[in-house]
Symmetry: none
Amino acid sequence: MSGRRGGGSGRPRDERIDTEVIAAVLDGLRRRGYHAITIDGIARKIGRARTSLYRRWPSKRHLVAYAIVGELGYSPAADTGSLRGDLEAAVATLRRAFAGPLGRGLAGLVAHMAQDVALARTIRREVLAARRQSMRAAFARASARGETRTGLNIEVLLDMLTAPFYYRTLFGHAPITPHMTRAVVAYVVRMARPEPAGA
Amino acid sequence: MSGRRGGGSGRPRDERIDTEVIAAVLDGLRRRGYHAITIDGIARKIGRARTSLYRRWPSKRHLVAYAIVGELGYSPAADTGSLRGDLEAAVATLRRAFAGPLGRGLAGLVAHMAQDVALARTIRREVLAARRQSMRAAFARASARGETRTGLNIEVLLDMLTAPFYYRTLFGHAPITPHMTRAVVAYVVRMARPEPAGA
Amino acid sequence: MSGRRGGGSGRPRDERIDTEVIAAVLDGLRRRGYHAITIDGIARKIGRARTSLYRRWPSKRHLVAYAIVGELGYSPAADTGSLRGDLEAAVATLRRAFAGPLGRGLAGLVAHMAQDVALARTIRREVLAARRQSMRAAFARASARGETRTGLNIEVLLDMLTAPFYYRTLFGHAPITPHMTRAVVAYVVRMARPEPAGA
Amino acid sequence: MSGRRGGGSGRPRDERIDTEVIAAVLDGLRRRGYHAITIDGIARKIGRARTSLYRRWPSKRHLVAYAIVGELGYSPAADTGSLRGDLEAAVATLRRAFAGPLGRGLAGLVAHMAQDVALARTIRREVLAARRQSMRAAFARASARGETRTGLNIEVLLDMLTAPFYYRTLFGHAPITPHMTRAVVAYVVRMARPEPAGA
DNA sequence: CCATAACCGAGACGGTACGTCGCGTCTTGAT
DNA sequence: ATCAAGACGCGACGTACCGTCTCGGTTATGG
């Protein structure tokens, strides 16, 4: 997402700039929110030239998206031995991410996705897809262990599992708490478990 | 939300302007998305003066929020006799709204909520709260009919029921279909139903 | 050259801004030369918004051209009773103009004329044409008085009369002095005078 | 003017680059004018590195000045036997030069002279001075032949002779034609000739 | 019936951020 | 020491909206 050079020719990029920029963006998100982020502001804060940012990211939205993607990272798809454990691990990374700068930045990111199809595609591929894949794997393991019934609509379950965290972050009608986190996972597990034997 | 004048004296407001503006905003949302909405653009499109818009709404975000709130409207809180029916009715209004201009405008609204606490409060109060209240009532009726078990975390259930629609609209990783709608409602109903008798 | 509004509608232009801008431009030309002129610098110097300049002139070159045209002004085409007197009066306005900010600005103006055909046309029309016309009239009066011979190539004479002032200003190989001014006029008069009777 | 390296060690300069650059600059001047000349553009056009240009000329204006000086060249100071012939020869080289890329480049050169005193000095020395010296020699020969009267202000005559060509080139109010060329020379010769005997 | 007050239209104003372009310098690896 | 490649710092450009303001002109209504 941050343009890379081809061969070994030419003066090499100063890797520190990348780090400084991302740090400044995340700090800006955390402290004042997305709308306060300015290319010029970032550049001045880290004492670099505006040009050096535009050399790496074609526009503000790409820059912020890049920072957010790095922050959200890739959930390690823990294998804890139980569906509940796996899902709680997956969801915990979401909760942690949203508690930091990402929480304030998410709304801005979403807005830019709406006006830049390519950006939206990238975010879906780089962030959402990876996380969903790891959660699908958790369901597959549970299925192999006989913990889940058949005919589940996994995609919908994944939405019901994760969407509430995005929703609460974006609309702020209720906080994301450990209790709420456990409740969501518990409900999903309940939906997925096999029919009781004597039915 | 659209500012009103004081006494009865003076030239009266031209009510048509309100209508024209809202229509133009929704049309703009539908056709080109939130970021393409411009106070000046709206004014030119309907052949009115910019002043006339600022006289009604203090800023662009208020205007757009007003248009969106009106479009989302208040879910009629249908009482169909069954929890599944009630929830499907409630969710159907969401689905319809997101299929129209609101779908494209949601991201922008969310972004402005993130930078304007007062606006966020208003949206939560005027839009989310009303819808949630009607759904809570549906759960209460179901409880009275003995359709649900006790100890349910209704707030979490409401999030799991509605968040997927916001989530899919904002991130676009999967479409909102009738099949998906039914699946979500079915899962929620399943989570809420009483324990099978012979357990 | 500075865009004018149509009817009487809308908030009227603040005429002071025009004056302040022109004064600042001329002062900048005089003190630091053309290349030091900056839209933003002008705006800051007079405490106005950059927008207010762009509202009047579409670009820096238009602004500077406008300032210069005003400064060069229109030579009043004095009628002193003799060709020498008329030409000296006409040339004197040139000399005065080039001694001020215009001298430093002329090179920049010329450069911009070379890259903007429309601007070049305007300058020729508004500045050169007017001055030449008044000098042509002086020759016509001299002709009526019998001071000049027939068959003169007036256009070439006008170039030989005025070009040296532009030339010395632009290339700086020699100063423009009263003595040089008189010499140029004297030579032109000599070229134009009738053949001596007994030839 | 094109910087030279020190000792004999190291990889030798590629002389072709000098030629390619100058050719590209003159071609750029001719086709799109001074403002379209770009260090980077030149380098790309000839497939060389920007560094190779900066190694030879310290800045864009030096490069262009160098190209122009070479193009204007040194007038051969012809000795045709008559003042008219000598001056026509001298002026013809001017006319030819201005008909080519130099014509479009002159304005830009003049602008850079205005903001770089050293450059201005160089141009005056390398270009103007040489040409004027050769024309002064022509006047000296004419004086020796008794073709001119005494007390002439040669410097002013030289300006009146050559300035019109610069002037018309820079302002474009009239073309430079053979007819106009002859007229200018004829007027200068007329100004310079001795007083008619019977006066 | 006519004065007042709020409206409407038009557009200038101050301001912020954007993304682009060109400059001239610096840093690298390879001839 | 050159060459090719390209990052870097810098400064200015012109654009786009924002939200505020100041005009002249319009229209109900209340003294």
